[in-house]
Structure formats: structure tokens, C-alpha cells
């Protein structure tokens, strides 16, 4: 359905500041090209408004949250793309060498598998005969692991919501 973009410039600046601070505190770098970055942030706000979640502005959302969890920004593919290409798929996040202009920014090939091949949740490892004091949860965005009864509401590293975790190691002793 056609969506009328009425995003407030003030909202773009506010989200830009939040994302910059979150990135810096967790060792990530927001693309220093402000015009480029703010255009992407506008797309995130548009998606938040029309879908209810900020899915990647450079990917077509299924418009069902359960099918789009992996592309809610920051997406599950960001870190692998940063490692391999120096930028995430849309280039909202870049590595230091690209931020400093020592390496050119090029379009990033799509890493997300086609819908039929996507694995929604990995199978957790079972503890075998070892009795764990707590299950271990893994954030699908940044790989952060924590051992506790339930995962935190927001990941302390990537700031992703609780729904982006998966069970990584479970008790079966």
C-alpha cells in the first residue's frame, strides 16, 4: 500500500543521536556520511510507522514481524557483512577503515538467504550429562551470550529487543 512519508526532521535527528551513542558504546561505527545516514534513518522511521518495527530500509519487508525479525535494524547479518565487506548491507554501519576513508564504500551483496532457506531459530546445544545452573541465551544480532533464567529485555551490546534471542545451550541433565 502506498505510504505517505511525513517523517519529521527532528525525529530523524533524535534517532541519529541515539543510534550514534549506542553504536559508539558498543564498538560499532555509524556511517559518518550524515546525509547518507540520515536518509537511511528516515527509511527506518517510515518502516517503524508503517510496519510497527524498523526493518532494513534496503530490504523488502514481508510485513509480518515474525518473518522479518532477522532484518529489524540492526539486522542479523550486520556483523558478518562488517567483517567481510566493511559495511552492513545498507551501509548504516561501517568499519573504521571505511569511516576514515581508507577504503572505498561499495554496495554490499545480499547475504540474507531466500525465504524458503531461512532458519528462524537454530537448535540449541544440549548440556548432556552436565547440569547447568542456568540456560544460555544468544542474541542473534551480535552473538552476545548470557547465562540466566530469561534473557534481558534489551541486549546490552546491540540493543536488540528480547524477541531476537535464541536458546543456545539448554539443560537436559
Amino acid at each position: 500500500m502506498s505510504y505517505k512519508d511525513t517523517v519529521d526532521l527532528h525525529d530523524i535527528d533524535t534517532l541519529f543521536d541515539t543510534l550514534s551513542q549506542d553504536a559508539e558504546s558498543a564498538g560499532y561505527i555509524l556511517n559518518p556520511d550524515k546525509e547518507f545516514t540520515k536518509a537511511l534513518i528516515r527509511g527506518l522511521i517510515v518502516n517503524q510507522e508503517r510496519y510497527g518495527y524498523p526493518s532494513c530500509p534496503c530490504r523488502l519487508a514481508d510485513q509480518k514481524k515474525g518473518d522479518d525479525l532477522d532484518i529489524i535494524c540492526p539486522c542479523n547479518y550486520r556483523d558478518a557483512d562488517l567483517n567481510e565487506h566493511g559495511a552492513c548491507y545498507c551501509a548504516l554501519y561501517v568499519t573504521r577503515d571505511i569511516a576514515d576513508g581508507k577504503r572505498p564504500l561499495k554496495p554490499i551483496p545480499e547475504r540474507r538467504p531466500p525465504k524458503e532457506e531461512r532458519i528462524k531459530k537454530s537448535r540449541p546445544v544440549e548440556s548432556g550429562t552436565t547440569r547447568l545452573s542456568h540456560p544460555v541465551w544468544r542474541y542473534t544480532v551480535c552473538g552476545y551470550l548470557c547465562a540466566r533464567e530469561n534473557p534481558p529485555e534489551v541486549c546490552p551490546i546491540c540493543k536488540a529487543q528480547k524477541e531476537r534471542f535464541e536458546e543456545f545451550l539448554i539443560n537436559n541433565a
Binding site: M1, G43, V46, P57, R59, L60, P107, E110, P114
Partner: protein, 93 residues
Amino acid sequence: MAMTHISGSDKGDLVLYTLSTCIWCKKTKALLNDLGVQYDYVDMDNLDDDEREKKMEDLKRWNPKCSFPSIVINNEKCIVGYDEEKIKEVIGV
């Protein structure tokens, strides 16, 4: 029709599958505008469900990953992503 036509010089039949929010799609459109060539584009995120499904089936034949932008040239080949050099080469400028 879902396609939007942009007029310019005729360098073949260029059909762009794009997203309204995607910056690489915007760069692709801007490049073609600068080159002054005619093309048709469709912002897939702005289509209603039925139309989007249909266009996705069309796109899948050219780019199974259905990523954006995808540029189909003369119903013969497809350039995936904002590849400035390849786009210029294919349309002969």
C-alpha cells in the same frame, strides 16, 4: 499500472525494481536521471499485496534473491545492486 515511466533518451528497455526507502535504489535512479536515459521503475514497498506478489514473481526470474535495486535490461539481463560501472557499460555511455 504499477510502473512509473521516467522519460529521457532511449538506451534500451530499462526496468528497475526498487524500494522507496532504499538509498542504493535512490542512487541508481539518480544515476539514470543524470545520464538522461528513459526507464520505468516500481517501488515494491508501495504496492498493495496482490500487485507486490505478482511483481516479486517477475523479479524472481531475474534475481532469485529479490534484492534491490534490480535493473532488467531489454528483458535479457539483470544488474543486481548499485553497480555504477556495469550500469554505464550496459547502456553504452
